[in-house]
């Protein structure tokens, strides 16, 4: 595969995480490895509490500086290992990684108009940008996410816009500085389904256009199937199956993945199968589909 020749944007190797003090540690991640190639859309799927959001936060460098977290392994992004670092990591990367959150309305500060917040975002990418230039770029960015009247949106507060509008504003802001990687942690879970679909389409189009890699965190297999090129299934802090979207959905091999897929309600009815909440089979070792291995060479 020529994919393997490119250097991945994000490489996570044997990432382990435990919460707690020195004496009592609760392991949360048991050695996660994943990678994302430039321009690729990768999904991390799992149930609540499986460790998917924690992985995203570690990749953003948000959890490391707490005294109650213990991290080992490595998270390579842009030549920096973020596994040990704290806020400096976030500062050094600046806006080369962006993140989209579950609730777009709370992710915007309610005391400032969108205009000012957008200016701040653009200024963090380009210190010398003038106000007029920033406003012009903000308007263009909002037009790109099909906001009908960008000027009006810029002069509004987040709480004056609908959830879907805010989500689009967030997408525009997060991609405004052309990041290499966009981490979307259950984007739009707080929104209703049709709006969620619209925004996912937008995100897909835009990241395609800018060549931004995406790590999509989700429990929604429908969303993943539509959106992602490659999928990692995570269960209780372990990756259990890894393959391209087509491989995984057409030929699920791990018992847990099969159970997950069986849990999708069918529109033809027939009810949900009676699935065990836990099963020793779910703990089976990782199954990797053909051509989807982790890049082997040392990365630094």
């Amino acid at each position: 595969m020529n994919n393997a020749l490119q250097k991945p944007v994000l490489t996570i190797r044997d990432l382990r995480l435990a919460f707690g003090d020195r004496r009592h540690q609760t392991p949360v991640l048991h050695g996660i490895s994943l990678h994302i190639q430039p321009g690729e859309k990768v999904a991390l799927v799992g149930e609540s509490g499986s460790g998917k959001s924690v992985t995203a936060r570690l990749a953003m460098g948000l959890l490391q500086d707490s005294k109650r977290t213990h991290v080992s392994g490595s998270i390579w992004f842009d030549g920096i290992d973020a596994a040990k670092g704290g806020p400096e990591i976030a500062r050094r990367r600046g806006n080369r990684v962006a993140m989209i959150f579950q609730d777009p309305t709370s992710a915007l500060n309610p005391t400032f108009k969108i205009r000012g917040q957008f200016r701040d975002v653009l200024r963090s990418g380009d210190r010398s940008i003038s106000k007029d230039e920033a406003d012009r770029r903000a308007e263009a960015a909002l037009a790109e996410v099909s906001i009908p009247d960008p000027k009006r949106a810029l002069d509004s507060y987040a709480f004056q816009l609908s959830g879907g509008m805010n989500q689009r504003v967030m997408i525009a802001m997060s991609l405004a500085n052309r990041p290499q990687l966009l981490i979307a942690d259950e984007p739009g879970t707080a929104l209703d389904v049709t709006v969620q679909a619209q925004t996912l389409n937008l995100m897909h189009e835009l990241t395609e256009k800018t060549g931004t890699s995406v790590l999509l965190i989700s429990h929604n297999l429908g969303v993943v199937r539509e959106f992602a090129d490659r999928v990692y299934v995570i269960y209780r802090g372990r990756i259990v199956e890894h393959g391209t979207t087509a491989q995984l959905f057409n030929d699920p091999r791990h018992p847990y993945t099969r159970a997950l897929l069986a849990a999708i309600p069918k529109i033809s009815g027939g009810g949900l199968p009676d699935l065990p909440e836990r099963s020793p089979e779910f703990e089976n070792p990782l199954i990797t589909h053909e051509g989807c291995g982790e890049p082997a060479e040392a990365l630094s």
Binding site: M60, G61, L62, P87, A90, A107, L108, L161
Partner: protein
């Protein structure tokens, strides 16, 4: 689209807040009282009939005069016009309240922001210090401080400031704890914003409604506290006109020269009431806006 994002909306929320403020006639009355008192205090030398009665000398010919057309609120034992002295007393009270709050609020707000956002040991140490101050009854604490220091205007303000900031620390601590969970704080963290930026540019603006409301309510209470201190002889010293010491001095001549106590006491009541009503109205207005 049916988005409520029209450009007139910003001004509409402002007028909505104003409508919420004016909906309660009491808040309007409070505002009128406050504006009137502040105006009188600012223009005291021009609106008072006997501006030179501020000092130690009065008009001995008119000692202990009952309220009349010449002396609206009567005169004191050395013939000084009480109305004049009350207006100047307001002036002093307002200056004290502003100075105390101007020092206590930033201290309390910074302590609250840092403790609420940082958490852990920082939180523990800062908030336990705050609790120590809160555990002592405020007036007793201020009296203890004044016991050590000379009873001057400066020290009086110092004593009140020392007991005032912990309330702001507590208030802002709680607001910060809630705001720190919000997505916009996380969003700022992900791009590596500095702690100072997150505290003062992201969280602080969301604390302003709480701070402003509390400050307005507190002006009245600081004035009350200052008056209590000077009533006990621990505040401003004569001949500077101070509402609290006027009440104390006049009490000796009750009930014959009743005006010496009643009018300054009513004056304190009026200003405290005025600021409280404004504070309540502001709280409602801020609630309507959010």
């Amino acid at each position: 689209m049916s988005e409520p994002g029209s450009p007139v909306l910003a001004s509409r929320t402002r007028s909505k807040a104003w409508a919420a403020y004016t909906a309660d006639p009491l808040s309007v009355i409070g505002l009128v009282i406050v504006v009137a008192i502040v105006a009188l205090a600012i223009f005291a030398p021009f609106v008072t009939p006997y501006p030179d009665h501020v000092g130690p000398t009065g008009d001995f010919a008119a000692m202990n005069a009952a309220p009349s057309a010449d002396f609206w609120f009567g005169t004191d034992v050395i013939g000084r016009d009480l109305f004049t002295r009350i207006i100047y007393g307001y002036r002093l009270s307002l200056i004290m309240a502003i100075v105390v709050l101007a020092i206590a609020t930033p201290i309390g707000v910074i302590v609250g922001l840092v403790a609420g956002y940082k958490g852990g040991w920082t939180d523990y140490v800062l908030m336990r210090i705050t609790d120590v101050f809160l555990a002592v009854p405020p007036l007793v604490l201020a009296m203890a401080i004044m016991g050590f220091l000379e009873p001057t205007l400066m020290n009086g303000m110092l004593a009140i400031t020392a007991m005032w900031w912990p309330w702001y620390a507590r208030l802002i601590y709680n607001v910060t704890r809630a705001e720190a969970q919000e997505g916009y704080v996380l969003a700022a963290e992900t791009v590596g914003a500095s702690t100072a930026h997150i505290l003062f540019r992201e969280i602080l603006p969301n604390c302003w409604p709480s701070i402003l409301t509390k400050m307005t309510l507190d002006i009245g209470f600081v004035i009350l506290m200052a008056s209590s201190l000077s009533f006990l002889g621990l505040g401003v010293q004569p001949p500077t006109p101070d509402l609290g010491s006027m009440v104390a001095d006049g009490a000796k001549y009750m009930p014959d020269a009743w005006w010496l106590t009643i009018y300054p006491a009513l004056a304190i009541l009026l200003i405290v009431l005025g600021f409280n009503l404004v504070g309540d109205g502001l709280r409602e207005a801020f609630e309507a806006e959010s």
